[in-house]
Symmetry: C2
Subunit: 343 residues, 2 copies
């Protein structure tokens, strides 16, 4: 590790008495598909060059290499907000996966704004990333199609975009919602409402569909109702929504997301609702601090490590084999019931 007065190929070549090219060959001696080295350098020379490189702790200049080979081995990851626990955990898994495959990742947060997303992509492309992982915000559909078709490989995760022919890694959001509803049903709940977002994000819409479907199957859909908060004014909105719910004829609340649950449960506590007693709660995702919540509840948990590794592997494959067939990977959620404190 040394930045100042870094040693170059040239320096090594001079000391070894060979050309720069030979040094490059010796150091990168790529083994081809047929098991033979691409370039033949005598073993003796190769050894000598490697020793010199090691002696000076030679580190190739990645910028120069990237400029030459027109690949940077880096990807961009576009998220709604990296400070959101769901996405920061995803980011961590991506970071690890990328490192293990000698890639690096840039992150950018959009705050659900298509304009910010466009800026971020432009910025990333300028930097020379080889591919893009995106959890798209609504309104970014056209942009995404354009980018995927003309600019750079794209893999979608978490949220789907219609008519966008790219690789995708998605959760089975409908299944998760159905699992949650069935779990509440299993507790004897029959009058289950859902608190969700307005907007047209595919994951949210699928969760709503799953909620309705399970309710219908269980014949409790006459009591189904979906309350929707505006994404941007979430916290305030949710409080207001919760107050509109008549808890005298409501058994359970199913929250479409973690942050809805935080605001919503908070309001329920303020209202003095008998949580997990008279009124059951289920939610998508659960932050670590949910463990502080001293009532039983059910959550739909997404396997973020798998999510991240699948997504990452897909973008790398797309970069290396642009013509490979498109994949759409649907990951199954898990149901976690915590009734820790009711023991």
């Amino acid at each position: 590790m040394s930045k100042k007065s870094a040693i170059t190929l040239q320096d090594i070549a001079k000391e070894a008495g060979v050309s720069r090219a030979l040094v490059s060959f010796a150091l990168n001696n790529a083994v081809q598909a047929d098991g033979r080295k691409k370039y033949n350098v005598s073993e003796e020379t190769e050894e000598r060059i490697k020793e010199i490189a090691a002696k000076y702790n030679y580190r190739p200049n990645i910028l120069a290499r990237s400029l030459r080979v027109k690949r940077t081995s880096s990807i961009g990851v576009i998220l709604p907000d990296i400070s959101n626990p769901f996405f920061s955990t995803f980011a961590r898994f991506i970071e690890d996966r990328a490192a293990s495959r000698s890639y690096s990742a840039f992150f950018a947060s959009t705050d659900e704004s298509a304009a910010r997303m466009e800026k971020a992509i432009e910025n990333f492309v300028d930097k020379g990333i080889d591919g893009l992982i995106v959890a798209p915000c609504s309104g970014s559909e056209d942009l995404l199609r354009k980018v995927a078709n003309n600019v750079i490989p794209v893999v979608l995760f978490d949220r789907d975009v219609e008519d966008c022919n790219v690789d995708k890694v998605l959760l089975d959001n409908s299944m998760g919602a159905q699992m949650a509803v069935r779990s509440l049903y299993g507790e004897g709940r029959r009058r289950i409402v859902m608190v969700s977002y307005s907007g047209r994000l595919s994951n949210i819409m699928d969760r709503e569909a799953g909620y309705l479907r399970a309710s219908a199957k269980l014949h409790i859909d006459e009591n189904s109702y979906i309350y929707r908060a505006d994404y941007n004014t979430c916290a305030d909105d949710v409080g207001e929504i919760m107050r509109r719910i008549d808890f005298n004829c409501t058994d359970a609340v199913f929250f479409a997301t973690n942050s809805l649950a935080v605001s919503g449960i908070r309001e329920m506590l303020k209202m003095g609702v008998d949580i997990s007693g008279k009124v059951g709660v289920a939610t998508y995702d659960r932050g670590d601090s949910f463990d502080l919540f001293p009532y039983g509840f059910t959550s739909v948990v997404q396997p973020l490590d798998e999510f991240a590794s699948r997504t990452f592997d897909l973008i790398v494959r797309r970069i290396e084999e642009p013509q490979a067939a498109m994949s759409k990977i649907i990951v199954s959620p898990e149901l976690v019931k915590s009734d820790y404190y009711n023991d």
Copy 2:
């Protein structure tokens, strides 16, 4: 935004009938300190060149530029774990700050391992970052001194390292702890214990010092006691520690960190401790989901936005003016009391 068949300076030069150099001048027309442009290009030519560039939506190749100017306008940020809410929030603020100043940031997580930290730094330096922001883990002191002296500008944040002459942005950890203790004291608590980590991280040690100091000042130090959990086995350890506390003669618990508080409070709930009634709770930091915790408690909150902007500005200054005097910025925490549900 276009990657494939990107247009180059050369192309523009040809169409404009001038040299590449002139195009570069026209597009970058730097205004110098004396208010004059560094290179004189006739206005007419400059206009023409700019129009052509705009027409083709020319984007300079950043790799090529970086290679030439030996600066990448990127920094590395080394954190214990980006999936930890404290650090992911910090990351988000860094991201925004960097973008607003046309920098980009790489992130790496160390899991408190000095070996991983070294790898990450090596990796970043290879990538050509101009500077490094580090929340150092214990055991990384020598490495950090070496890097700061011989390799690349470094700014420390969150945790201090002795005998390391670099810019630093730190919280007044002792003050925060004192505020917490005084707050508990104000509630009438006199027998306050602290739950902390073993190890030698400066921020933790300062919090312990603050706890002891405030206790002494308030003459309640005869009841002071610091329980210490092993960092790596935290969750299990904390449960065991909590069970060792005799809550018959303990008024309050002060947790040194958010994650200690989560595990610790969880255990207290299991034990049936009358939280915020008989036993008060205070903690450093608070995740969003702390809002779900339906008891009053006090937390020491760090102004992460200021933390991030100060840190970022410092590293940029150091990059641009390597000889500037070293700064050590101490940021004050804020005390937040939540007794929302006790209203």
